[in-house]
């Protein structure tokens, strides 16, 4: 029951691309590092997140184009 609930939560939060979730964690960690160093850090996350989105789309396109996508 708990495992199924955890899988359901994983399914709707992370979905079918766990790399995006890992990317988000890395981006927030990098933001924290820059902020801790006393440098302006606000610009980092927006740029990195859009690069992550573009990369994620690039990975999804071949699956969509050949009809094998389960997105």
């Amino acid at each position: 029951m708990a495992r199924r609930a955890a899988l359901a939560v994983w399914g709707f939060v992370v979905g079918d691309d766990w790399r995006t979730a890992v990317g988000v964690v890395l981006i927030l960690a990098a933001t924290a590092l820059v902020a801790t160093a006393g440098l302006p850090a606000w610009w980092l996350a927006p740029i990195a997140v859009l690069a992550l989105l573009r990369w994620s789309l690039g990975r999804a396109i071949p699956r969509c184009a050949d009809g094998s996508s389960r997105l």
Binding site: V24, A29, A35, P40, W42, V49, L53, S56, I61
Partner: protein, 249 residues
């Protein structure tokens, strides 16, 4: 109501309306094919389970230190929002089929008709399918209500926005007695993806220690930034469709 609170209410309302449209299709299919009473009992049970979940987790989330809450919830919202946005971009670019409520309704109605006759007063099939539909679609709404509400310290406002959206969809759906095919689902999902990503960016980066120029006033600019970038991605993908089709054939 501040600008941030208004954005929160709009985000929750749109996300809840989209999920309610999808749940309504399932409930209408089993209700009209088998048993309205059992389907509605399933809806009630599903909504009760979601309300209990929000009531139980809301106070637990709001008791977390604000810095921890913002980075955790911001990260979750960002992950969740990027998932919505990616699917909406692929749909808008024509690379992924749009959600077809009529086809889903027909498939659910066929399955309900083939599931055999219910032996007692309560039709277990109608109850279970409605309950599952409401719970699964509603979990995303509960997640958004909890994360937005906790971060803004106003779970009540988020819950009211969600309840209004669900009530509107239910009333329109039951008046029409048909799936809501005219709702611009992908445009709404696109908007929700942009809003979730913008809020996730704002809270996630702030929780990680970044200071936004002009504080909360940066939020609309973040939304516009994400929207413009997503629109450019749709445009690029549309332009590249002939190449993709040629590569796939």
């Amino acid at each position: 109501m501040s600008g941030t609170e208004a954005s929160l209410a709009v985000s929750v309302f749109l996300a809840s309306a989209v999920e309610a449209v999808e749940a309504l299709t399932i409930v209408l299919a089993v209700g009209s094919t088998r048993s309205w009473a059992s389907a509605l009992a399933g809806v009630l049970a599903g909504m009760t389970a979601l309300a209990v979940l929000i009531a139980a987790l809301g106070p637990a989330l709001t008791s977390l230190p604000i810095g921890v809450l913002r980075v955790v919830v911001g990260g979750l919202l960002l992950t969740f929002g990027l998932q919505w946005l990616r699917k909406a971009i692929l749909r808008a670019a024509g690379l992924k089929p749009l959600h077809d409520e009529l086809a889903i309704f027909a498939a659910e109605a066929r399955a309900a008709g083939a599931a055999g006759v219910a032996p007692g007063e309560l039709d277990g099939y109608s109850f279970a399918i409605s309950f599952k539909g409401v719970l699964l679609e509603g979990l995303e709404v509960a997640f958004i209500v909890l994360t937005f509400g906790a971060n803004q310290d106003d779970v009540g406002l988020a819950a009211v926005a969600a309840a209004l959206a669900v009530a509107l969809v239910v009333v329109v759906g039951f008046v029409a007695r048909a799936p809501l095919t005219r709702v611009p689902e992908n445009a709404m999902k696109f908007a929700v993806g942009v809003l979730l990503s913008a809020f996730g960016l704002f809270w996630g980066a702030e929780g990680a220690g970044a200071s936004w120029p002009e504080g909360e006033a940066a939020l609309p600019f973040l939304g516009l930034f994400v929207l413009a970038a997503a629109w450019l991605m749709v445009r690029d993908l549309r332009r590249g469709l002939p190449d993709l089709a040629a590569a796939a054939s």
